[in-house]
Symmetry: C2
Subunit: 323 residues, 2 copies
């Protein structure tokens, strides 16, 4: 299996990408990684790491995507950028997955255009993994689609269920609908109608409405919602953990470090542990990482990509949608 | 000043209400409290507290609101309930504010009907106070209105600004619009149009879009949003603090309690510290508390009510809306 990794994506590129790729190759058997980007810069970075495994490759992509490039224009304006080249490799069978910490909008637009939505998918969602008191929970859509229709949420439920089975090891994923009350009749037109549709879907293990307070309880494997609320929630969650831990830190300064494994808590709450956010419902694998991703986050995103390829996620998604 | 307190609201009523009222009376000068509810039950509870101050009164209200009563029907079906009687006292000049931990829907509907919206207010919002790294931030709407129009968010901004000045001591409250990007053109039709309207409002200190990740940073005094996302966010926040502190607790068990003032952290994150959620834009003061409110939360809600009355919040809101 070959994963194309955008080497120019993070704010500190290509250092976190190169280090993350080397970490991933140490972890995984049967995985090759192609660093996509400015070859000179990548080679310079590689030289700092001594011997490079034969499973790590470089593909030159000279164009640079900047903040001035409108996401939808990147395909046309920057055809030799790391994003477009990396995705094209997958389309042309040279790679099995794409991972990028570059401009989220540009990666989404280019993935959509290059990998194309699977038949039956109108609005490919982006998923985000949330830490809970139980296991991780997949929230989607986390920001790709605002103004969703009820049938879009049903598609998210299908795509999320397949993803949870294939890459998260959940047998019969429990799907919740994010809402402002438990009763079926609560919420907006969108959630009321989506509730009816989801309840009627035989192949979805729909457990009903989920309120904001239920999310961290871990009752769901998959939570579906419109991308506006999903994005607000995800960004809030990422920031609130740091805030609360900071509140505690002042108190904890008095305590001998040896007595505490704060690292454990940080690990649980750290998005970098969970790798990138998968774009679902496309004819390929595309994983989006934060621009501030450390090497660990890149490594974990590569692991997520590898699991998606190995489990045949795309074929399962396509089959599920045809049932 | 007289505050009518629904004595039948919490899950453990009337014990937390009675205890909270006694605490509030010890704190405050010039405040009288009227416990509204079943007089026999209230008197029984009062007897357990020894001597009762002369500033604590009881008003009999025999009807009981149950979960089976549709919120909008409480006014008609249960005219002698603690909610309806307590609000009527304000309308008839016998009380200056109303505080209740009863059914949120019933309190909202009855407040709306009894106290009436101020001229110019189409959708009275409910506010919620969020702890941040700076000061508390008022989020509104926190769940009273879903499917808001842009002008509703502008009204929320005005009502929230007056509230922040009057009861939170903020001179020139900074107002943010909750959105999924920083740029003015980001988000839904609602947020794009609301952004334009807010930017044009001279009497609002509008600081622009606020993303989910900015909330806990404390950049805003007031955040406006549709009640759907506000409600999801508020409930999520209330639950996530407990989750994270629990994550830490396992680690902290190894540590001598004397070394830690965890109480401080809990205090910062505990909604009970901040009293109830004010209903804004009405011709009176109505504060909603959680059904699980402990006495401390009731006391703090009574303090919020007293500040609202003392600062003449309702008159200021009405004047502001006429400018």
């Amino acid at each position: 299996m070959k994963i194309a990794l955008d080497a120019m994506g993070t704010d500190l590129a290509p250092a976190p990408e190169v280090e993350g790729a080397l970490m991933a190759l140490r972890d995984a058997e049967g995985v090759e990684i192609v660093l996509v980007g400015d070859e000179t810069i990548i080679r310079e970075e590689l030289e700092r790491h001594g011997e490079i495994p034969s499973t790590l490759h470089v593909r030159h992509a000279p164009d640079r995507v900047t903040a001035d490039d409108p996401p939808a224009a990147v395909m046309r304006r920057k055809p030799e950028s790391s994003i477009v080249v990396g995705l094209r490799m997958q389309k042309e069978g040279e790679a099995d997955a794409f991972v990028s910490a570059g401009s989220t909008g540009a990666v989404m637009a280019s993935s959509l255009f290059t990998l194309r939505p699977l038949p039956g998918v109108e609005r490919p969602p982006v998923g985000a993994l949330l830490p809970t008191a139980g296991e991780l929970c997949l929230l989607l859509d986390a920001g790709a689609n605002i103004g969703c229709k009820p049938q879009h949420l049903v598609q998210f439920a299908h795509l999320g269920s397949v993803y949870a089975k294939d890459t998260m090891g959940r047998n019969n994923p429990r799907v919740g609908l994010l809402n402002i009350g438990e009763e079926p009749g609560k919420g907006t037109e969108l959630t009321i109608e989506a509730h009816e549709l989801l309840a009627a879907e035989k192949r979805i293990n729909f457990i009903g409405n989920i309120e904001g307070r239920d999310i961290v309880g871990g009752e769901c494997d998959v939570i579906v919602c419109d991308g506006f609320v999903g994005n607000v929630l995800l960004k809030f969650y990422e920031s609130v953990a740091g805030y609360i831990v900071n509140l505690l830190r002042r108190e904890l300064e008095a305590v001998d470090d040896d007595l505490l494994d704060l690292e454990h808590v940080f690990r649980v709450l750290d998005y970098a542990e969970y790798g990138g956010a998968p774009l679902l419902g496309l004819g390929g694998v595309s994983i989006i990482c934060h621009g501030e991703s450390p090497p660990k986050a890149i490594r974990n995103a590569l692991a997520v990509a590898a699991r998606a390829v190995r489990s045949d996620l795309v074929r399962h998604s396509a089959e599920d949608l045809q049932l």
